[in-house]
């Protein structure tokens, strides 16, 4: 089936990207590879996922995968939003300090010529 080739190629590409520029295997890389192999397994033997799904009380393996993805996406979204807000706060602090510092420097040593035009 074409879909299997596409999915396996995609998983292999992710694996290649993750491994690129790394010569050691940190813990989270190991986890990424474990997930990639699990994905490849599910692509090659889709009916096997039904067994796992049935075990946790879900009818089809596809449904189980959908649920797991939904929760994962939400987690990642919130995680990065929190990071984003924190980064924004740090950027504000840095910009503020820079503005005050520049004003203090100019007060002690005024610029010789006014060529520092705003961009």
């Amino acid at each position: 089936m074409i879909i299997r080739i596409v999915l396996l190629a995609a998983l292999a590409a992710i694996g290649w990207f993750v491994f690129l520029k790394r010569n050691r295997l940190p813990f989270h890389i190991v986890i990424v590879f474990a997930m990639l192999f699990t994905g490849a397994f599910a692509v090659l033997f889709p009916e096997q996922t039904d067994i796992v799904a049935n075990f946790v009380g879900v009818g089809r393996g596809v449904d189980l995968i959908t649920y797991v993805i939904e929760v994962t996406v939400l987690f990642v979204l919130i995680h990065y939003y929190t990071k984003f807000v924190e980064l924004q706060r740090q950027l504000t602090d840095v910009t503020r300090e820079l503005a005050i510092l520049r004003a203090e420097v100019e007060r002690v040593a005024p610029p010789a010529n006014a060529d520092d035009k705003p961009r």
């Binding site: 950027l91 910009t95 503020r96 503005a99 004003a103 705003p118």
Partner: protein
């Protein structure tokens, strides 16, 4: 509170058209003025300097809340004992600054109120919108004020650490009132004049932007 110990803080973003005139009117009245140019793309910085202000510049545009806080930090660094915030678009008049400063003799915070004072040039629609904003902000902050989100207010330097703005954009006004309510600082409202000009109306907030402000207020609290 004397004039010497008071710093007027103005946050400006792309206000080159009016900032020089606004700054000059405050400087000529004898006040220290610090303008925070919030990453403007025009000549706001040069115009503000020409008006006689100390000018700070944010390298990037962060928002009005961030700019005001930068100005407050700088003023306190320079030894300010009282801070008065003033809008860059020319809607406030320098004659109201002494009223705010006088009120700081008895209170930690003095909030300007256009509804206790006078409003010039506002349309009926804007007045309705403003009244709604007052109700909304009183609900949010748990205060009973006659005006909300008036850009003209003053506070003592000793109150500044408890009034730190963390909302970079427009939600800082609601944030400040919330802090006024929870800090236990004493506050009062003073009548001021607000003059809406064609320029200030163009730069002002629209009803739709209120949604963004509410989002920031509820989901960006850090």
């Amino acid at each position: 509170m004397d004039r010497h110990g008071t710093w007027v803080v103005i946050a400006a973003y792309n206000e080159a058209a009016v900032i020089e005139q606004v700054v000059a009117s405050v400087v000529q009245a004898g006040w220290h003025v610090v303008v925070v140019d919030d990453g403007s793309g025009d000549t706001t910085r040069d115009r503000a300097r020409a008006g006689g202000a100390t000018v700070l510049r944010h390298s990037i545009n962060l928002g009005q809340g961030a700019a005001l806080q930068t100005g407050v930090d700088y003023a306190i660094r320079r030894g300010a004992r009282a801070i008065v915030t003033f809008d860059a678009d020319g809607q406030h008049v320098p004659e109201d600054i002494p009223t705010i400063v006088d009120a700081l003799a008895d209170h930690d915070i003095a909030l300007g109120s256009r509804f206790l004072g006078t409003v010039e040039g506002a349309t009926q629609r804007r007045m309705v919108l403003l009244r709604a904003a007052v109700m909304m902000s009183n609900r949010l902050a748990g205060l009973k004020l006659t005006d909300a989100h008036c850009g003209m207010r003053g506070f003592r330097a000793t109150a500044a650490p408890r009034l730190r703005i963390t909302q970079d954009r427009m939600a800082h006004a609601s944030e400040l009132l919330k802090k006024v309510q929870s800090s236990g600082l004493t506050y009062t409202e003073v009548p001021i004049t607000v003059r809406y000009t064609e320029h200030s109306k163009r730069k002002g907030q629209t009803g739709f932007q209120a949604i963004r402000i509410l989002f920031d207020y509820f989901f960006r609290a850090s």
